[in-house]
């Protein structure tokens, strides 16, 4: 794809954040953030409320302007070229971007369908995998519980088939079963060479083998 991954020690760096500084209004929420991630790695962002976990994810996803420093995807700076990064990453925010009037299947058809064409069977398989019963797949999502809605957005991760997951508290609203299911999804994603960055309140259990942790302190 034009850009080559480069090595730091044993690691092929795919995502790099260098000296990142991010402002919200006039306040500095992040400064001097450095991180390197390679294939199969999981980074957990920890820190109190307001420590900038969401801002870091959003800055990497291109939703917040970067004041200083840079984000690099396969050695290419995102400030100048986002197109490869855009099609190889997905950001999942606090709220699942679901339309209450659409069923889970319809929602995924339009949401992930904008990234790549989808078959209905694919969508159903993904929803079944995240534990949404067949009957619930067809109901308007306003009738689903918060945990079920969260599962729908996890299905979106599977359907997007991208290398980088940027996740903002993906396990809130999930029951114990759901948490374990999510840990399994992450593990599988990493085994396939994927990368995941997740802002978490409590550590993901069971923790993936290639786990790193970044604890953010309020700037």
């Amino acid at each position: 794809m034009g850009h080559t991954d480069y090595n730091i020690g044993m690691l092929d760096v795919v995502l790099e954040v260098r000296d990142l500084r991010v402002l919200r209004g006039e306040r500095t929420v992040l400064k001097k953030i450095n991180l390197w991630l390679g294939a199969g790695q999981y980074l957990e962002l920890r820190g109190a409320n307001g420590s900038g976990k969401t801002s870091l994810l959003r800055a990497v996803a291109g939703l917040l302007p970067i004041e200083a420093g840079g984000v690099f995807w396969r050695s290419a700076p995102l400030a100048t070229d986002r197109s490869a990064f855009r099609s190889e990453s997905i950001y999942l925010g606090h709220d699942a971007p679901l339309k209450a009037d659409f069923s889970a299947i319809e929602n995924l058809h339009y949401w992930i369908g904008l990234r790549r064409p989808l078959q209905r069977q694919e969508i159903e398989a993904a929803l079944t995998k995240v534990g949404l019963p067949a009957a619930a797949q067809l109901r308007p999502t306003r009738q689903l519980s918060a945990g079920q809605r969260r599962r729908v957005s996890l299905a979106a991760l599977l359907l997007a088939r991208v290398r980088l997951w940027l996740l903002d508290e993906p396990t809130t609203q999930l029951d114990a079963d759901g948490q374990a299911m999510f840990a399994g999804l992450v593990e599988e994603h990493l085994r396939g060479g994927g990368i995941a960055v997740a802002a978490m309140h409590a550590p993901l259990t069971p923790a993936p083998a290639a786990k790193q942790e970044l604890v953010l302190a309020a700037a």
Partner: protein, 246 residues
């Protein structure tokens, strides 16, 4: 080419000091020009053969109408510079223009209405120029309201800059459409003197007033810009240093 001057203009302390140095010059020359223009226009110039002394309101009306458009262009240009080169000082400049621009527009509307009363017997006629000024006033209000409804200065800067740029495309189209709309009703404009050519005794004071208002705008802008830069840079080292040394 040497572009260092352009980079210097992007530096808040440089702009702050530059406008501090310039503002007395602008202020005094505005005072002198306006005083001379007023004396020439209100005392020396002969009354108009059709409109009598009523025409003298042109010495306030025309310069403020001219300035309202010029300020809008300045604002939109500064906003565009701010968007393109991500220059915060340019955004500060655009923000400083809005209030004074709205004031000039309002003055041109009020003086236009006062002029209309003796000429037409009514304060408001749907004269194309008055109508266009009214819409310009709404544009200024929209810009200021948009800024005021965002707490985050950086977002307010960039969003209002887009509005200013969109408005800049809109202003000439509005002017044209209003002229075209009005031409179909054949109502002659009030805001023109009966004679095409003005004698020098009338024209010179008008030009003095135009120059005076323009320099007054620059004086006002340099003061306003300083306040705006100071507000935005209140946490920066150079402001602290300046306050400590004061």
């Amino acid at each position: 080419m040497d572009f260092t001057w352009f980079h210097r203009l992007g530096s808040p302390p440089y702009i702050y000091r530059l406008s501090e140095r310039l503002s007395p010059w602008f202020g005094w020359s505005a005072a002198i020009l306006i005083a001379a223009g007023l004396y020439g226009g209100l005392v020396l110039a002969p009354p108009d053969y059709q409109q009598g002394d009523g025409f003298r309101i042109i010495y306030v009306h025309a310069p403020s109408a001219w300035l309202s458009l010029m300020v809008y262009s300045c604002m939109a240009t500064a906003a565009a510079v701010g968007l393109i080169w991500r220059m915060k000082v340019a955004h500060a400049m655009a923000a400083s223009c809005a209030g004074v621009g709205a004031a000039f527009t309002a003055v041109s509307l009020i003086t236009g209405m006062l002029w209309g009363k003796p000429m037409w017997g009514t304060y408001w006629v749907w004269d194309p120029r008055l109508t266009a000024q009214l819409i310009l006033l709404f544009l200024f209000f929209g810009y200021m309201a948009l800024r005021a409804s965002y707490d985050d200065t950086s977002r307010a800067d960039r969003l209002s800059a887009w509005l200013a740029v969109i408005g800049m495309v809109n202003v000439p189209i509005v002017r044209f459409s209003v002229e075209w709309w009005n031409s179909l009703h054949q109502s002659p404009s009030v805001m023109k003197l009966a004679r095409a050519s003005m004698p020098a005794s009338m024209l010179v004071p008008l030009l003095l007033m135009l120059a005076g208002f323009t320099v007054f705008f620059l004086a006002f802008l340099s003061v306003r810009l300083r306040a705006e830069v100071l507000r935005r840079e209140k946490h920066s080292a150079w402001v602290r240093e300046m306050v400590a040394n004061a």
